[in-house]
Amino acid sequence: MAIEVQPERAEPTGRGPEPAGTGRPWWLRPGVHTGLIGAVIGYLLGHFLGNFLAGGYSRSALSDANDVAIVLGYALAVVGWLAGLGVFNDLFGLMLGRPLPEEPRLYGAEDPGLAKYFRYTLDHKVVGIQYLFGMVTYFLTGGLFAMAIRAELLSPSYHLIGPEQYLMVVGEHGTMMMMMMSSVILGPFGQYFGPLLIGSKRVAFPRLEALGFWLTPAAYVILLSALMFGGFPTGWTGYEPLATQATSGMDAYFFAFGLMGISMILAGFNMIVTIINYRAPGMRWGRLPVFVWSMFMVSFLQVLAVPVLVGACYMGLTDRTFQTAFFTNQLGGSSYLYEDLFWFFGHPEVYILALPGFGVIAEIVAVFCRKPLFGYKIMVAGMFGVTILSWFVWQHHLFDSGINPDMRPLFMLTTELISIPTGFIFLVGMGTFWKAKIRFSIPMLFALAFYFNFLIGGISGVFLSDVPADTTEHGSFFVMAHFHYTIMGGLIFAFFGGIYYWLPKMTGIKLNETLGKIHFWTMFIFFNSTFLPLFALGMMGMPRRVFEYARNLETLNDWVSISAFLLGVSMLIFLINFVMSMLFWREREVGNPWRARSLEWQLSTPPPPENFKRVPVILSSPYDYGIKDAPPVADLNPPLGVIGGAYSGAGARAAGVEA
């Protein structure tokens, strides 16, 4: 489809396009309920097909578990889920010769009420809110598993849950977090605000974007279904050959991870094309908000790294079902192959997790210091450096694994080098604080906490990058502390900062300030008190994923466990704030409470369905605080002919459109 070069004609007339299926009751229109029916039917079909194909194998008869049936069941369940949601309706419509609706992204977007959030709605703002609720659910589920882990670790010898259950819980916690949180910022905020920040009325591929969201509940349910099969014993890394030895819960892990991977690839692809092609006139690359830059780079990481994971998961599944031997050393395969494939994805994955946090925090800091970002180019260069270097460091997860040691100095060097662009993020943050006028709103508090936490996380990463020091630290609680500080202390704090910053814009409702401050302080204090001692625990010899540890470490573990429970309470405070503010108190928010300059805050709250009545012309950078007579960031009502004139040099002629 051509880029809309005639925004005047795209302006909706009157009420806007007719929502699809007007007049049909909600339960006859495709939605989550039909999706569930489709999923159940699909699973039964797939399982039946699998029994037919592989029921006769001696392997299935001996073990009373047919992995082929389970995997095919999941696959057809996902197809049924999507079909029930109506994802394929447009495709089949085209195949049957029916014309596509003019404005698919607005279909259902103007429906009042909540039903549109439970359907395959193509408006990116609806998808953003769907992602927000989804991500909060997945995060809290993963957090519950963490509470169970810490409960077990209260004692070095007494066991609340058995060893199999402990590994079930550990695997579910880790996988739920690492798998689902990859989209925790790109989903809710990237999808919602990406187009708004670049001055676009739409994303490039609304169907792919919505599909990317609807794959996440499927991945969530499939991952949790592993619990019915006894879980998976490998933790979130899924190392072979233990993964081949494991029972049926492992299929759920590989399938769910691969499915979430597909969701990430689609979301990333859509974001790249949108940002390249749908920027409003005047939105030069040098004026792009830093958050949009971070989404752009994260999307490249997703599109390029995640297919490697999908391949690894697929090979893991074939090893388990059709007895290929990719990862079985005795039959000519290699366990190292899995490790390399997984970590080739795994390292860019952690930057997929970290980079959006950098972007959100930079936005928040500029607004609440009321200063331009110090060194915009350095910030972008830092994120770019992190993105590029993240491809060259993955072997630092494998320093002790027995791979050839000749590359170790090289990977030590690249891993050390990646701390330089990461340091730029701090340079920019620190520079923005210089001679600023700092307001301590709740998003700003989360930003400050981000800098503190990521500092500790990043410095501990330098400890890990040193190969000799890594001999003691690898695989121990030191690593756990490092990645919890960077991912939870970084990304999740940025996520909550983003929620407090942007939720008023998305929903038009304020979150309660007092509860928000209580949430912040309890979360910050108990987060640090939970994870700081883990550095010591790791250095004192406690490996990861154990339920028994040396007796002298009990006191420290108890301190950590109790802090973790209190951290859980802080999440509860957030949940109470979220639910009560959105459902009961509902304090209205209008306009621009933070007096931010960026484009999304110049619109109504919440934004109109078509985002902009007319495509705006961008006039200045969103970071021009403090500059006398700085023009506003955009002209939201450009005169007729300006847009055409702006496009005339940019290819409107190529598209055959007159200026």
């Binding site: 392997r59 040691p405 400890f463 190969v467």
Partner: protein
């Protein structure tokens, strides 16, 4: 200050933030680095029981001494900023429109690059010097310990002691090829002797982590992972599995001792003799660098290998298996 002064030089009232920060930073950094080096370093993990542990302890101390001023600097800056530059209540104006500062940016880039490059070179030197720093180097190690490898080990000389670590679900056992391939569940090592560990696995990936020795080497099936160290102090060693290997991973640990060379020799020869007499040595598979548990020579062609090696969907642990092994 006269009124004309304040009108003409308002900037003179602005305190020298950079200088203040630098001075406070220097004082705090010294206050941190000196105790780290002199008080904490001798007690840092993983201790000094072996050459690898000692070098790792040194590395961690150097890293701490470099990291402490960085952490102090950044935290100090943010605390200073939020104290000095907070918006006064009711002040709605914008901050100073500073877009960047080339000198600051250049200094930062050069400074961080210098630290990082130093650490990379330092890390490489510390990796190569202590023969791989106790990390598993795979079947073809590059950085080895000096010494002679002999068919039998004798104390006093420069003989390298070879110890094979066999990891399986869920225990470690140790074979000494220089003592007839005898197997033990306790890891005894002689002091001041270069030790060459050969770590392998019988089933899934494990990892041999001898904490006090500063040795960590992953155990992969059909792979011989070599790691080096030289025990330098007497004492006990705890060995834990460091790679998740199934439900009893947490219980996969045992212990060892570093003893004098003569004590070690008499222990090892004694175990060898006992296992010879018991017929255990003859029953064990011949010593080799890797083992394939599906190939049992005594069974010969009677072993049913056609069903395959992998445990997919339950060869080793069918889904209806009890949890207790």
């Amino acid at each position: 200050m006269s009124t004309t002064d304040t009108q003409q030089t308002p900037a003179a009232a602005e305190p020298r933030h950079g200088l203040r920060l630098l001075v406070i930073w220097l004082i705090l950094s010294l206050a941190a680095c000196l105790p780290i080096w002199f008080l904490w370093y001798p007690h840092m993990p993983p201790g000094r029981m072996s050459s690898s542990a000692r070098h790792q302890q040194f590395d961690i101390a150097i890293l701490a001494v470099i990291a402490a001023p960085v952490v102090i600097g950044v935290v100090l800056y943010f605390v200073y900023a939020i104290v000095v530059w907070r918006a006064k209540p009711g002040d709605d104006s914008d901050g100073a429109p500073i877009q960047g500062n080339t000198a600051v940016q250049a200094t930062w880039i050069i400074g961080t690059s210098a630290i990082v490059l130093f650490l990379a070179v330092f890390g490489t030197v510390e990796l190569i010097g202590p023969a791989g720093a106790g990390a598993g180097e795979g079947p073809s190690p590059i950085w080895t310990l000096a010494g002679t490898k002999t068919a039998t080990w004798t104390p006093g000389g420069k003989d390298i002691l070879e110890v094979q670590v066999i990891a399986q679900q869920w225990t470690f056992s140790y074979r000494y090829p220089q003592f007839g391939g005898m197997e033990s569940v306790d890891l005894y090592l002689p002091i001041d002797t270069p030790v060459e560990f050969h770590v392998t696995s019988l089933d899934v990936i494990h990892s041999f982590w001898a904490y006090q020795l500063g040795v960590k080497a992953d155990a992969n099936p059909m792979v011989d992972n070599v790691a080096y160290t030289t025990p330098e102090q007497l004492g006990s060693i705890s060995v834990r599995c460091n790679e998740l290997c199934g439900i009893w991973h947490a219980a996969m640990y045992n212990y060892g001792h570093v003893v004098s060379q003569t004590a070690f020799q008499s222990w090892a020869s004694g175990v060898q003799a006992k296992e010879q007499a018991d017929g255990l040595l003859a029953a064990l598979p011949p010593y080799s660098l890797t083992y394939d548990p599906t190939v049992i020579p005594q069974l010969g062609s009677n072993l049913v290998k056609v069903v395959g090696v992998t445990g997919a969907a339950g060869y080793y642990y069918p889904s209806n298996y009890p949890v207790q092994p």
